[in-house]
């Protein structure tokens, strides 16, 4: 038995050969079937998920993506708005309040913030439940009448015309979104503020003021677009860190995404599953870095020209 396993996984072979087997798998001589090989999408079997790792990711990732899509807008838009306000009102009470807000935000561990929110919004007030959707909604989603077009629950619900399910899904995502947002706002506020302060000292801003533009036009038409260049990098990173940072948030709110699966696999020392998630995460990272590079060209005309 033990020897069979050793043979099967080539554990008696040198390390580089084992590595190669892990990469491309083995081809059965008789049937020509391929076993294993992460390059062919076989990440192994997840002990904690009771299904192949690739299946597990396929089932869980849409939930995480759904959450991230809904979290990105508040994170970036509110974060930038806060930063611009802090810079425009530099050294006033607004700026100081922003500073305190961001220091508290960076000091708050995600899970403590999440647990406090659960205590308040779920247990005390009963407004926003944890999890993915209510029981009545999951019954409908499992029926054949509910078509899965995109596998993203909120979008599918809209496409099916089930507005009640859409609202239910949003209600369940409220707390994770707020948690992810609060932690990221602090960073956005800080970067936008310093970038904006730098831009406001530029001579073209002085020119804009000198030719008599309103303060609103000076800030939002002349200064802010230029201050956004350094913020775009951060925005790209924050999408990645949202996807990676959901590990703790999803665990706290019992939200069935890849982060929660990775965390429970890690807690039970299921290395194969965790490794699968790590590789998948790396893939996401490369894709989003590419997107950031393209966005750069959109935001900064100088990059487009050269």
């Amino acid at each position: 038995m033990v020897e069979g396993v050793i043979k099967k996984y080539k554990l008696d072979r040198p390390l580089y050969e084992q590595y190669w087997t892990w990469l491309v798998g083995t081809v059965d001589v008789g049937s020509g079937e391929r076993h294993g090989g992460i390059l062919f999408g076989d990440f192994g079997y997840s002990r904690t998920g009771s299904q192949p790792v690739a299946e597990l990711i396929k089932n869980r990732f849409p939930n995480t993506l759904d959450l991230t899509i809904w979290a990105v807008a508040p994170v970036i838009l509110v974060g930038i708005w806060l930063g611009v306000q802090a810079a425009v009102h530099q050294n006033t009470i607004i700026d100081q309040a922003g500073r305190i807000f961001s220091i508290v935000g960076t000091s708050f561990p995600t899970f403590v913030f999440g647990l406090l929110m659960l205590m308040f919004f779920y247990v005390k007030l009963g407004w926003f439940p944890p999890g993915r959707m209510s029981d009545w909604a999951s019954v409908i989603v499992r029926t054949n009448e509910f078509h899965s077009y995109t596998t993203l629950l909120t979008i599918d619900a809209l496409l099916n015309g089930r507005f009640d399910i859409f609202l239910d899904a949003l209600r369940h995502m409220f707390m994770p979104i707020l948690t992810l947002s609060y932690i990221s706002w602090a960073t956005f506020l800080r970067v936008t503020r310093s970038s904006m302060l730098e831009t406001l000292r530029m001579e073209y801003v002085v020119t804009a003021r000198a030719k008599g533009l309103t303060e609103h036009d000076v800030i939002f038409k002349h200064a802010q677009p230029n201050a956004m260049i350094s913020v775009v990098t951060l925005a790209g990173f924050s999408v990645v860190s949202l996807l990676g940072g959901v590990v703790i948030t999803e665990t706290v709110f019992n939200y069935p995404g890849i982060g929660q699966a990775a965390a429970s696999a890690a807690a039970q020392l299921d290395v194969i599953t965790v490794l699968g998630f790590a590789l998948f995460n790396g893939f996401i990272l490369i894709v989003s870095n590419l997107v950031v590079d393209v966005l750069y060209a959109v935001v900064d005309p100088r990059v487009r020209l050269s």
């Binding site: 500073r99 220091i103 508290v104 960076t106 000091s107 708050f108 561990p109 995600t110 899970f111 403590v112 647990l115 406090l116 659960l118 205590m119 779920y122 247990v123 005390k124 944890p130 990645v240 860190s241 996807l243 990676g244 940072g245 590990v247 703790i248 665990t251 706290v252 990775a262 965390a263 696999a265 890690a266 807690a267 020392l269 299921d270 290395v271 965790v274 490794l275 998630f277 790590a278 995460n281 790396g282 990272l285 870095n289």
Partner: protein
């Protein structure tokens, strides 16, 4: 070396060049570093941060006095009062195996009955004891991780900057690869892989945090060394034939290290934050170890009754937030002081 004193009337010169007393501290630190230190001491926010850090340091030092351990050989094991799952409210009496009474108990509380001041968590672990000794764990993990990452970063960064060229290129690309990994997930993975091999203790998480935490220091010290290695005294040392390692360790690093050192000392807060995150996810110490993340992780099983058992998250959570905030307050002020645009202003 004798200074040439300009002859004649130099009152005009003396009036234009403002002179001031240069104290011993400033002479020791150098003008730039002195500016950083005084800048920090002048900001109210950073003074508040220093107060918080000192407060926690005192608690950590006095832990055996504030909460005497039941078994002096295993002080980090939180004493249990029975084995029932339900958390007990604040102020309930110790029923079994109460730890020895600390000296301050009677004068402050007015009784000689040990109570669970901050209640007990799941499995009757005393929350108060966990918070007090958890302060020590926080400093221990924070310091071990920070010092190790700092040393690794310094060595890698300075080798990279000093030799430059292809060595620099290769090392910096490796740094880039490490920087692209999402920190918590990478640390989680490494800690998971390490735990079955070296057992449940503080170390899997510590090693994981060190492995993915050194890159920042390497980059900062590299930048500082790149500017310092072009200075005349380095050239002079090279001309008289001093060995590479001696130039690096005696002439360059001591002059470049200060900003990195200050940054590192403030990273203790962030390290503790990540560490608590890992132990909340169940990576790290045995159940019942005095560690804030560990104490907080009990709350996961009581989410639906958190309004009754609020004390099992609020107190350890508060300790963690205030501790990290102490370091962040100083760190925020430091960012302003280190900002190159501020240089030259007092």
């Amino acid at each position: 070396m004798s200074e040439t004193i300009p002859s004649g009337d130099n009152t005009l010169l003396r009036e234009t060049v403002s002179s001031r007393e240069i104290g011993r501290v400033e002479r020791f630190l150098g003008p730039e570093n002195y500016r950083i230190v005084t800048g920090l001491l002048k900001t109210p926010a950073s003074v508040m941060g220093f107060v918080l850090i000192t407060f926690f340091a005192l608690i950590a030092l006095a832990a055996p006095v504030i909460a005497p351990p039941v078994n002096p050989n295993e002080p980090y094991k939180i004493p249990r009062d029975g084995f029932r799952a339900e958390p007990q409210p604040m102020g309930s009496q110790w029923k079994t195996k109460a730890p020895p009474l600390p000296f301050w108990w009677k004068p402050v509380m007015g009784t000689d009955k040990w109570e669970h001041i901050l209640g007990t968590s799941q499995g009757q672990y005393d929350v108060f004891y966990g918070i007090i000794w958890g302060t020590r764990t926080a400093f221990r993990t924070g310091l071990i991780v920070t010092i190790s990452t700092f040393l690794i970063g310094i060595i890698i960064g300075s080798v990279s900057a000093y030799y430059g060229g292809i060595v620099d290129n290769i090392i910096m690309r490796i740094v880039d690869v490490f920087l692209t990994l999402p920190f918590i997930l990478a640390a989680l993975i490494l800690a998971t892989i390490l735990t079955p091999r070296i057992g449940k203790s503080l170390y899997p998480a510590i090693i994981a945090l060190v492995s993915f935490g050194w890159m920042g220091y390497a980059r900062i010290i590299r930048g500082d060394i790149l500017s310092i290695k072009e200075r005349d005294y380095v050239m002079a040392a090279r001309v008289i034939g001093v060995k590479d390692s001696r130039i690096l360790f005696r002439h360059i690093i001591p002059n470049a290290i200060f900003p990195t050192l200050v940054l590192a000392s403030l990273a203790v807060g962030d390290v503790v934050l990540s560490f608590a995150g890992l132990s909340f996810l169940g990576i790290g110490t045995e159940v019942g170890y005095a560690d804030w993340g560990q104490v907080l992780s009990f709350a996961r099983n009581w989410i639906t009754s958190l309004d009754t058992y609020w004390y099992i998250i609020v107190w350890p959570g508060l300790a963690l937030v205030l501790y990290v905030m102490g370091f962040n307050l100083v760190g925020d002020a430091l960012r302003d002081v280190l900002d190159p645009r501020m240089r030259g202003k007092s």
